[in-house]
Amino acid sequence: MRNESRFWFDLGSMESIPKRGARTVRTPHREIAVFRTASDEFFALENRCPHKGGPLSEGIVHGRKVACPLHNWIIDLEDGQATGADKGCARSFPVKLENGRIYLDMGMAAPA
């Protein structure tokens, strides 16, 4: 059965992700990229570019966007939407920061 309630999983200290960088979280069904912007905002997207599945966690983070490392699609970190002329969407997941620690909502992220 799917657990509909939120289950905040502690991913560790915010310092474990470099500013303008990303780290991945591996779950049984998908890999999730957790991004940190230059101004310490955190976002989580499925680590698959809507174009051809490029690992978004390896892209250059600028503002609230990431440039996919494979063909440079620009993906909005807030909602996972491709920007500009490109169309497509990477699924996004709730993350929050509390007392310097990052939490990912596993109720959303873990199920198939």
Binding site: P18, R20, T27, S39, G53, V61, H62, R64
Partner: protein, 815 residues
């Protein structure tokens, strides 16, 4: 009988609560205030001007003796409360006195944080919180000497400026790379640092304090990098911590601060808390504006009003250092041109940035001109829709209502004596005269003739508009191509300015060259990162997050997200041991594809990211290092067997190839660089389609440059001939350096040669011996920093987190 109100702490929050209370319901309570400080209530934030000598203590008193008498408030100054007996509703002081209450207000403020390093308790180490601290600092300053302020935030900088004004030689030591990083973005932080430095204050950023040194008194501050800064006085201004001890020990709920509800009530219904000691909806504050809001609500509740309660505050920051104007508020998260408006004026050191989301102001950072701070802050708090004035928003409130001008019409409308180029003081009339009188048609001609836009280049677009306006239909747009949409300057102009103005950081470049965004874009950041590394190999710290993934992880990303790993094979030579090591790695890590590349080496394809450090470690232990197959840098030096084996060979082409590869490896270049050395003109190493190719002949070495064999195919041009191997090495390094210094980022060598002209390169390298030697020298110097094996560093743990997932979650029980 009147109810008894007791207040613990006589700081700014307490004072404001009483003011509000007496206004709302005078005489309702019999008030007693306990203040640990032996004085009346004063304006703590004005301690900075007291330190600098701009104000006296008397001038910053809020409630004088007469006020306490008039309001019948009993002030027990110099008396600290040490316990709250909630059962019997009384407080106990350090001296043992007790005082009953009906309602109690905890307003204990916060404590300065003292970093727990050895020597932190030495005499001569002070914090900056109350008048006693100021007196201690003033006493120390009266003897001149040196002060070190630890902490480059608001408080630290005000302390530093004050002490400098009092004649001390001051250094500020700051943990983060830019000053006031919590209130300012790096651009404003850069300007602030410059302004602080012009006051004679040294700023040391990214510096961690290891210990405070001294036997009986402080004599210095030792940093992690091994330096010790001499000091007669050390001020710790690294932050504050809510002062919750008393509340906590009395069983009142505390977290980071004393927990209060929207009416400032603690977990005990008769006890309120207010000011910096509280935590409201998870937030603690360190500025006075929120305290004033809290005080109003608290006083209302005491007076029995049914108010709306306190809903938290959005704060703004200013710095009280005379001559430094800065303002910040809200959220200034990094954005792109869609959600920010940036205005910079390098000549006046102005930086303004307004951050928008959904057409509402969500943040502002202003430096140098803060006039409109209050206006932006007001719109931020009210959530005003700014769409109708978006184009003129950044020019400020007084500009509103004016229509945004068509830039050509605006320039045309300027009077003749209007200054166009601020750097060189060139006005419109001079430029127009030069254009009409001298028959000028391009920006470069105007620049050469009048010097307009020849310095920082920020006015380039204005000069262009002027050309357009003056020439009308005759104007043909030049092929000047700005670097990217963030700036009007070309790559070449930016590079020249980086050198001329000694710009050594990204914020410095962006401010002084008037970037139109706050932090660049994915196109200019990697370019600037390269230009800075090239210009300042020793001073500039590589910004890894500005690099493409391949250069960050020292491997090539493949279409499935795995990586390929290519060890160096110097000059294409290898040994059985190396081959065995490669085979072992391929087996152990189940590497699916092993391929020989066109550059005479072996590519291991399909390596998982988290395996990279282990793969490198194993290759390293066999003596194999990174082949930089991913880099905008030297890739390979292809060789033929040459005179060692070939019956036609004229020189040792393999030997020269190995030496060249060792000389050039590790250097960053604008784009990738490939070399080849052929042992005779039969050219088996295909040297004539490489960036730089050497063809050995009986009399020495022919140096060819500017070949290509990719999307574009181009045979090399012969640059010249040298007689010895040493010369060949020196000339090739000099060409590489010239290319490094001049080409635009991502511009291959052949493109740069076509742009700049083969003859020019030949003159610079083959004919001007002094110049060539200088180029060679500069190359060698930068190689001292660059020539490291990135694999060895990472196998040893550098950037370890880059390679491991943050978390791996597996189902606990298989279904």
């Amino acid at each position: 009988m009147r109810k008894k109100l007791v207040v613990i702490g006589n700081g700014m929050a307490a004072g404001r609560v009483l003011d509000e209370l007496f206004e709302k319901s005078p005489g309702a309570y019999e008030v007693t205030v306990f203040g640990e400080e032996p004085r009346v209530n004063y304006n703590r934030i004005m301690l900075s001007p007291v330190l600098s000598g701009e104000k006296s203590f008397e001038e910053i008193v809020i409630h004088d003796e007469a006020w306490y008498r008039a309001n019948e408030v009993t002030l027990r100054r110099g008396e600290a409360v040490v316990a709250i007996d909630r059962l019997n509703r009384l407080v106990r002081t350090a001296a043992g006195a007790v005082e009953p209450y009906d309602k109690l207000v905890v307003a204990t403020g916060s404590m300065p944080i003292v970093i727990p390093v050895p020597g932190a308790n030495l005499p001569g180490v002070v914090t900056f919180r109350d008048l006693d601290d100021v007196d201690a600092m003033l006493k120390a300053a009266s003897g001149g000497g040196r002060a070190v302020v630890i902490g480059g935030g608001l408080l630290g900088l005000e302390a530093a400026a004050g002490l400098a004004a009092k004649g001390m030689k001051v250094s500020v030591v700051h943990l983060m790379p830019t000053l006031m990083e919590r209130q300012l973005d790096p651009n404003a932080g850069y300007l602030l640092q410059r302004a602080i430095e012009t006051r004679g204050i040294d700023v040391v950023t990214s510096a961690n304090t290891r210990s405070i040194v001294g036997d009986e008194r402080v004599t210095g501050v030792a940093l992690d990098d091994g330096r010790t800064l001499p000091a007669d006085l050390v001020v710790m201004a690294v932050g504050i911590r809510p002062n919750t001890t008393l509340a906590k020990n009395s069983g009142i709920e505390t977290k980071r601060g004393v927990v209060v509800d929207d009416f400032m009530r603690t977990s005990d219904p008769d006890i309120y808390a207010v000011g910096e000691c509280v935590e409201h909806r998870g937030a603690c504050y360190g500025l006075v504006a929120p305290l004033y809001d809290m005080a109003k609500v608290l006083a209302g509740d005491l007076a029995g009003e049914q108010g709306a309660g306190y809903a938290g505050s959005i704060t703004s920051t200013k710095l009280k250092v005379t001559g430094i104007d800065l303002f910040s508020a809200g959220d200034f998260a990094e954005g792109d041109e869609n959600d920010e408006i940036v205005l910079r004026d390098p000549s006046r050191q102005i930086y303004k940035r307004v951050v928008l989301r959904d057409n509402k102001v969500v943040g502002a950072v202003l430096y140098g001109d803060t006039q409109d701070g209050a206006w932006y802050f007001d719109m931020l708090k009210k959530g005003v829709d700014v769409a109708p004035m978006r184009d003129t928003l950044i020019f400020g409130q007084s500009y509103q209502g004016g229509s945004p001008l068509d830039p050509t019409a605006a320039v045309a409308a300027l009077p003749d004596d209007a200054e166009i180029c601020g750097c060189n003081g060139v006005c419109k009339g001079t430029i127009v005269q030069a254009i009409t009188g001298g028959g000028l048609t391009t920006i470069d001609e105007v620049r050469a003739k009048t010097k307009a836009s020849a310095s920082c280049g920020q006015c380039t677009s204005k000069v262009e508009t002027l050309l357009m306006a003056t020439l009308g239909d005759q104007y043909v747009a030049g092929d000047r191509k700005p670097m990217c949409k963030c700036v009007d300057l070309t790559h070449e102009e930016v590079r020249a300015q980086i050198k001329a103005k000694e710009l050594k950081s990204l914020p410095a470049v962006m401010q002084e060259l008037a970037w139109k965004t706050s932090c660049g874009c994915p196109s200019c950041r990697p370019a600037l990162n390269y230009y800075l590394i090239c210009a300042w190999p020793y001073d500039y710290k590589d910004d890894y997050q500005s690099r493409f993934i391949n250069e960050r992880v020292h491997a090539n990303i493949q279409k499935d997200g795995t990586f390929s790993v290519v060890p160096r094979m110097w000059g294409g030579l290898t040994t059985p041991d190396e081959l065995r090591a490669i085979a072992d790695v391929a087996d152990r890590f189940r590497i699916p594809t092993v391929k020989v590349t066109g550059g005479q080496r072996i590519d291991l394809l399909g390596v998982k990211k988290e395996d990279l450090p282990a793969v490198w470690a194993q290759l390293n232990s066999a003596g194999l290092v990174s082949g930089f197959a991913y880099a905008k840098g030297l890739r390979t030096v292809k060789t033929c067997v040459g005179s060692d084996w070939c019956r036609f060979g004229t020189q040792d082409s393999m030997g020269l190839g190995v030496k060249l590869e060792r000389l050039l490896c590790g250097s960053w270049t604008p784009a990738k660089v490939k070399l080849a050395v052929s042992g005779c003109p039969r050219n088996c190493a295909e040297a004539t389609i490489k960036d730089i190719g050497i063809i050995c002949v009986d009399s020495g070495y022919d140096i060819h440059i500017a070949g290509a064999a990719g999307l574009h195919v181009r045979a090399t041009d012969l640059l010249g001939h040298v007689a010895t191997e040493e010369e060949a090495l020196e000339y090739v390094a000099a060409i590489t350096q010239m290319y490094r210094e001049e080409a635009a980022y991502l511009e291959r060598l052949w493109k740069w040669v076509e742009k700049t002209g083969l003859e020019r390169v030949r003159a610079a390298i083959m004919d001007d011996h002094e110049n060539r030697k200088a180029l060679y020298e500069r190359f060698v110097i930068s190689q001292r920093v660059a020539r490291r094996d990135p694999w060895a560093e990472r196998a040893a743990g550098r950037d370890a987190r880059e390679f491991a997932p943050l978390a791996v979650l597996m189902p606990i029980a298989a279904e």
